[in-house]
Symmetry: D3
Amino acid sequence: MKVAVFRKEHFNAAHRLFNPDWDDDTNFKVFGKCSNPHYHGHNYELYVQLIGEVNPKTGYVYDMKLLSDVIREHVIKKFDHKNLNLDTEYFKDKIPTAENIAVIIYDILRKEIDADLELKIRLYETERNFVEYPVG
Amino acid sequence: MKVAVFRKEHFNAAHRLFNPDWDDDTNFKVFGKCSNPHYHGHNYELYVQLIGEVNPKTGYVYDMKLLSDVIREHVIKKFDHKNLNLDTEYFKDKIPTAENIAVIIYDILRKEIDADLELKIRLYETERNFVEYPVG
Amino acid sequence: MKVAVFRKEHFNAAHRLFNPDWDDDTNFKVFGKCSNPHYHGHNYELYVQLIGEVNPKTGYVYDMKLLSDVIREHVIKKFDHKNLNLDTEYFKDKIPTAENIAVIIYDILRKEIDADLELKIRLYETERNFVEYPVG
Amino acid sequence: MKVAVFRKEHFNAAHRLFNPDWDDDTNFKVFGKCSNPHYHGHNYELYVQLIGEVNPKTGYVYDMKLLSDVIREHVIKKFDHKNLNLDTEYFKDKIPTAENIAVIIYDILRKEIDADLELKIRLYETERNFVEYPVG
Amino acid sequence: MKVAVFRKEHFNAAHRLFNPDWDDDTNFKVFGKCSNPHYHGHNYELYVQLIGEVNPKTGYVYDMKLLSDVIREHVIKKFDHKNLNLDTEYFKDKIPTAENIAVIIYDILRKEIDADLELKIRLYETERNFVEYPVG
Amino acid sequence: MKVAVFRKEHFNAAHRLFNPDWDDDTNFKVFGKCSNPHYHGHNYELYVQLIGEVNPKTGYVYDMKLLSDVIREHVIKKFDHKNLNLDTEYFKDKIPTAENIAVIIYDILRKEIDADLELKIRLYETERNFVEYPVG
């Protein structure tokens, strides 16, 4: 009897979309105002989903308080009120699009969550643009 | 041509997370303030999903008014403005976590909805904690 | 490494649920107040989901600005501030239920989006009634 | 000790903005796509606010269940799943803008609510456009 | 140059509406299912508003982090995951309606916030029922 | 017969809270992680309120399409996808707190809106922190 559980957390960060292999014109053509050299920012809403068996003793798939702690310790602390391009180790050679941020958060949390629990990330950059990883 | 249709309903209930096989200290260690003996409560948001063929005469997978009536009759009436531990038959020997409540709502509705329609439950305990059953 | 990306758009439209093969009584019995002859309306919220590989040069599955443009050009322009029954070509012989509208939006966008990207539609008629197509 | 209490209800309706004293061109110039002759529609969200003394016996300014009943009987029944221009008596010689709808709802409810309770209406036509009456 | 600042916090609690001067029948007639003897509960959303001059050195009316700490220390700690009737000192002889809870939160916070700052409380019991105090 | 009308717009920006008269330690003590030297960012939600008489010919206090255009031209264009500290002229000697941003948006729009219309700004920095100006 598998159930999916979800926990929502958030962080506020600055970022810039920019490919260093391209000149400024190409970057502007591809990324538009998202490539503004002085950065812009977002309130990121992060949903972490775990799928697993319900423990009959607790009625939990996972303790949501603990999941919140894990996300805060390993993700929020690193990303909240930060410049994703400059203040984190993750976007030295990756563009901090919502897609890439979600994959990186997945990779970070995958190491912290028991392997028998399926893990999925949904990340809202704005209310109108969001991503999910992995798929299916 | 299968389409998924969703209906949102809600109920307000009190509950307490507590395993009678454990002493109070262990319950508090596992469930924290959720094990408060005098109960606390939530505005539960319930999404019921049905998957099936679109009826070409109506354009419906299922009449949403009818689905609302079924949910209200078989779920909301039993859970709304109730103490889940004391006022319902379902949590005599089950802890009323979101996971268990969702499974029980599924079991209740599964008997009321035609077997050729796939059924899925999403239940929000708070905006930040929610569950889905079954999975996949 | 496949990621799902979502874009939200909206349109406001009038519609009426009505099967011309039936008399008014039968229509009222099936569709209730939704068959009101003078129409009623909704703020439709549309989520378009694409699934595909992340382009390593851009970090994008798809440019969300471009996706927004495609949806506005091919869907919103045709449906926004329109009477779905009278002002569009799509519901001459189909009832404009949320199910049918979602399928038609899928068919419209499927022609505009590269075939190697999976496409999915979620359409909210109200906050409490919504549909998804295709399923799974 | 005065407290303000609020109750939210909703209705879905079709409407058209159109001044019969003007020709179609002028109407289109003023109202744009909102003057589409075949109507369009909205999910209207209605907030009714009452201000008054808290009754020490009930702890209520007003019974919210009763307020909901009053709004449904006198407003929702008349407007929900209706064409505001054609199906109601209120917009024979008034344009059904959010401003005018709010004033009319105020006038309807003012007669139903005790005069010692202050009454205020907030009406959302969309999430991005809304009005309040009276002011201050 | 006065500005209003708002901070949102939340708590989950059980309560029961019940006037001990009345018999059960009268309580049920007045409060309906809200008088269920075993309690029910809500996710309360609390907005605290302060009005004051902007400090030119900080650009703040009040440090929102500090306001959050004050609310958590003096309100949330006392009410969150509690039974308002049984676990708090405030509703021994007051019915825990949203109106009364808001007034009590105001009285608690009024002692903690500088007198030159105007204070106002908005409390959501559900998305559809909420109150504001003081008024005007 | 005065009615208040509201229009919601949004912009995404980076900012940093920092008083140049103070050393880094003092800035960190006052502003915490909001003073991170590499900036962070937000999805700002902006509500513009106008209060005025309803024009009997249009049923409008103000054309919401026009209000949207005015806000986009004079506010969004200057702030969206920008670094508020570096890319705008407004925060050379003012700290870009929500309070100060709201006052500046008011000052900008006050020049663009007829003086017989009352103007008010509500600005959300996050869902939990927001401000309103002017007050009362």
